[in-house]
Amino acid sequence: MSALPAKPPHPNVETQRFWDGTAQGRIELPECDDCGFIAWYPRSICPDCQSTNMTWQTMSGNGTVYTFSVTRAGGGRAWKEHLPFVVAYVQLDEGPTMMTNIVDCDPDTVEVGMAVTAVFDDTGEGTSIVRFAPAT
């Protein structure tokens, strides 16, 4: 678990399954039965073909850094003591690209294209924030 703030989200009927999965250390996303599209962020109607036939699938948790930035100033009150920290987009091996943090490494070693693996930061309320660490 990283030291970054892990503020509990507010799950709703569309996202409860995703957040339940994070508590178990899994990234689950809905895949469209009709067109195969896996959307980020999770939603109940396929944004690609409007099908409602969506099945939750467990992602591998592996991906690569699409882009990132090391935040060295600002970032809001809760984040000040954690500077510098890395904000990134990670592309999962299954396709979708999601916003996240890169943790458990020196921020200055992060690179575009770097292989990463999901880690889960417990919010203390039955959910976890999905972040990524360098793949070992």
């Binding site: 970054l4 703030p5 892990a6 503020k7 989200p9 507010h10 799950p11 569309e14 996202t15 067109c35 195969g36 599209f37 896996i38 959307a39 980020w40 962020y41 939603r43 944004p47 690609d48 073909c49 699409y66 882009t67 990132f68 930035s69 090391v70 935040t71 060295r72 100033a73 600002g74 970032g75 809001g76 809760a78 984040w79 954690h82 920290f85 904000v87 990134a88 987009y89 396709g95 979708p96 690209t97 999601m98 916003m99 996240t100 943090n101 575009v112 294209g113 924030i129 972040r131």
Partner: protein, 499 residues
């Protein structure tokens, strides 16, 4: 991009077959189904030239695990190959103008009616202050409204349409129209962030062209410097569907643009020094603007040595935070003819939405890749015809990517383009933001679109500062980027002329 005979893309003869080389995964073709019509072969891939297009081939989209189908063009990445047949004849019937913008391809129906110079910008006003602790936000809206109407030679009683965006407090346009004492039959509250006011010009021009209205008033005001966040604060966004998936990571506004910059550098070799050239040009213009928030000329070294905020963007890569406001008055042909003022015809308009593509995001382009060609198409002009450009400059990277998307240079070449004083007025290749822009002059209410239009109008009227006035400026472009380059944005482009 060349075909199998080594010919440059876009130089094909009639009926030739063309094979597009395999693309890198981040390349996106902006081919919109609704613009292309429904007569495409479902498995067809498509491409271009200045002429009619026939779809014959197919491609494999690795993201979808299946061949490209109708409606999937926008999101497709990783297209392995596209085989197309090109007919150069601009024949009758179903023709689509397909053009290349850098590495992107845009297809557009040629049936758009156009504005036919029906609408003109008759009045503009930029609030002179950058810190306004002693006035309310509605008060600033009223001041700039009065200023723009006076500039046009009109009064509040002449206004029959009012436009505001997310900076308008309360019920937005309803609250403000009431506060201003307007009696109008057309209200519009479209909110696309900082680009809203350019979109409002488009919407007003369309309403004028349709004969619905004659005098449209557009206002902006806010006090982020001395009065805190406006009505678009955090409460508005906490209910957004993306909220739980984007607010957990400490992302600040600059961090999002920094991620776009990181990716641009990775793909195209863009450098911090190249980005700094944009700030240098803006500062060289701002020195002549007595109202500019930052009037000091800076060097590339000063920019790249300023404090790193969010890699790779420094403090001086970012725009200013200022109180202030501005207003525009858009009028019909008949009203324009009745005014003493030198009015500016709205020749072309375009809007482009770009989102996160449901997890297939590509940060190397903006909605300008859609709004720009639409505006050029409507105006019947090309990027090379533009004498002056106001380009949204929330950050230096915003300008660099937008220049590419608007077609002033190829995709990925923005860093080279801005060298050698290209953006410097009056004699650079593309004089830009001669008021000092958002980077130095003013970014009222954290929204830079209004001032982009105002300075373009000044240039076309010959009223910019003499040190930065583009000689005989006849054709200007104003562009706004609202929302965030890192997630979802609304891009709006205007092409303005001279009567």
């Amino acid at each position: 991009m060349v075909d199998h005979d080594g010919n440059q893309f876009g130089q094909r003869r009639n009926g030739d077959r063309l094979v597009i080389e395999p693309l890198e995964t981040s390349h996106v073709y902006l081919l919109r189904r609704e613009l292309l019509g429904l007569d495409l072969a479902p498995q067809g891939a498509i491409d271009h030239v200045e002429g009619r297009v026939t779809v014959v081939g197919s491609g494999l989209c690795t993201s979808h695990r299946r061949c490209i189908g109708e409606g999937h063009f926008e999101r497709c990445v990783g297209v392995e190959q596209r085989v197309i047949e090109v007919e150069q004849n601009m024949g009758e019937g179903h023709s689509y103008e397909v053009s290349r913008i850098g590495q992107y391809v845009l297809a557009m129906s040629t049936t758009r009616r156009g504005l036919n110079r029906a609408a003109h910008i008759a009045g503009v006003y930029e609030h002179p202050q950058r810190e306004i602790p002693d006035k309310t936000v509605p008060q600033i809206h009223a001041e700039v409204a009065a200023g723009a109407l006076a500039d046009a030679g009109l009064t509040m009683a002449d206004v029959d349409a009012y436009y505001s965006a997310g900076d308008a407090p309360g019920f937005g346009a309803l609250s403000m129209a009431d506060y201003l004492g307007l009696d109008c039959r057309h209200l519009n509250d479209t909110e696309t962030g900082g680009s809203s006011y350019l979109l409002h010009v488009q919407q007003a021009a369309q309403a004028i062209a349709a004969g619905d209205i004659d005098v449209a008033l557009i206002t902006l005001a806010g006090k982020p410097r001395t009065g805190g966040a406006g009505p678009g604060g955090s409460a508005r966004f906490s209910s957004a569907p993306e909220s739980a998936f984007e607010t957990q990571f400490g992302l600040g506004v600059i961090g999002g643009y920094a991620m776009a910059a990181t990716r641009h550098m990775h793909e195209f070799g863009t450098t911090s020094a190249q980005l700094a050239e944009i700030k240098v040009a803006a500062s060289s213009h701002a020195q002549h603007n007595p109202n500019a928030f930052l009037k000091d000329v800076v060097t590339v070294e000063q920019v790249v040595e300023s404090r790193m905020i969010s890699d790779p963007l420094h403090l001086l890569d970012a725009c200013v935070v200022t109180d202030g406001g501005g207003a525009l008055v858009v009028v019909s042909d008949a009203v324009a003819a009745s005014l003493d003022r030198h009015t500016v015809p709205v020749l072309g308009t375009g809007f482009g939405f770009k989102g996160t593509s449901s997890g297939r995001i590509d940060l190397t382009y903006t909605g300008a890749a859609v709004s720009g060609p639409a505006a050029f198409d409507e105006a019947g002009v090309a990027p090379a015809d533009i004498d002056y450009a106001s380009i949204y400059d929330s950050f230096t990277i915003t300008v660099l990517v937008t220049i590419e998307d608007l077609g002033f240079c190829d995709k990925g070449k923005g860093g080279e383009f801005v060298l050698d004083g290209a953006l410097h007025a009056p004699f650079g290749e593309l004089p830009f933001n001669t008021d000092g822009g958002g980077l130095c002059n003013n970014h009222p209410a954290n929204r830079g679109g209004m001032t982009k239009v105002i300075e373009a109008v000044r240039q076309l009227r010959g009223e910019a500062h003499e040190a930065v006035q583009v000689p005989d400026c006849r054709l200007a472009l104003a562009h706004g980027t609202g929302g965030s380059m890192a997630t979802r944005m609304g891009s709006a482009t205007l092409i303005l002329g001279r009567d």
